[in-house]
Symmetry: C2
Subunit: 229 residues, 2 copies
Amino acid sequence: MTTGVRRRLGVEERRQQLIGVALELFSRRSPDEVSIDEIASAAGISRPLVYHYFPGKLSLYEAALQRASDDLASRFREPHEGPLGARLLRVMRRYFDFVDDHGPGFSALMRGGPAVGSSTTNALIDSVRQAAYEQILAHLGVEEPPARLELVIRSWISLAESTALIWLDGRRIPRAELETQLVHDFAALAAVSAAHDEEMTAILRRALKDEPGEGPFGDLAARLIALAS
Amino acid sequence: MTTGVRRRLGVEERRQQLIGVALELFSRRSPDEVSIDEIASAAGISRPLVYHYFPGKLSLYEAALQRASDDLASRFREPHEGPLGARLLRVMRRYFDFVDDHGPGFSALMRGGPAVGSSTTNALIDSVRQAAYEQILAHLGVEEPPARLELVIRSWISLAESTALIWLDGRRIPRAELETQLVHDFAALAAVSAAHDEEMTAILRRALKDEPGEGPFGDLAARLIALAS
């Protein structure tokens, strides 16, 4: 019995080790360029043994992507305390930490990598976007979002993705600036929507009522006033 | 000689007809769901004859996508006259006309359709994005864009894509509102960037100098001031 239990644990441990090794390699270089031989070598096992645990590179890639997705989604969780702008800024810092750690793999995946079109891969990407969307709704305290709020949140999530991808392509702008900028972008897109719709105005006013004057939104409004004058 | 020339023209005409028929079908339903049999039937020819002109569904899909890409890119062209906000609004109307006409095919393509991961498909999508980017730079009169301007334009293009995709999913917001909103979004994202960077401030000031007070940017600033107060 004990041996049996141990052996099963061993299999799972080996799988987890291989996933970790693969994720590390897929994060540093485009997954296209990483071979099973290389993964086997980095894990210190033979190529056939890799295939014993994973039937092919796609299944190992999907397992690595599952772990990365769980990791990223966990970074969106933030205590419901203090001004919203500061909460979002902390999440943006953790998001850029993730992007920084997994640059080439993140780019390859989002730009159309080896497993794009795989339903598993698409479902994982969608699940991370959905986790981000639900976290933002929860922080706004909105349970039944109107269509315009859903649009603002989901389109801002895609803006955050493209901002990260463009940043990775040369890193020509300091990431701290982009982290703040994305918080400002969220406020700006919500404000544009509020400028078109009363329900959005009410949601935005409620969201902003505890923001300090020197917070992202107040700062942005002041700068826009200066620009417009 | 004449017959030879005619025959070559006939082949090209038949190809163009098939591309048109396929594009129509791929636009109305997800390309996954469109069969070669259906395309043959809609074109009034036999299935083997379709394969005579196109080796498989992917090559026909790519040819249809090429035509759609050329069509979309042509809609970005706009005379360099009058205020920038009004120019962008006209382009947004033509963009939503396109999205409206090709809804299911556009969604399938952008959400990871049948040919995603095909290098031809990815190259076509990138070429349309690049055309949009170059048009905006030309209208701004900027030849060597700083990294922050490139980021604003490219990330706004991805915002426009996701806004169109979200709109297609239920059409819960009037498209005219979204066309105006995307112009406002561009101004807002540029303003956020300008709030972080002096070079962007100079570019934005130059872009706005001919904007009427009641244009998108003035309107947005006034509404933000009202919201912030």
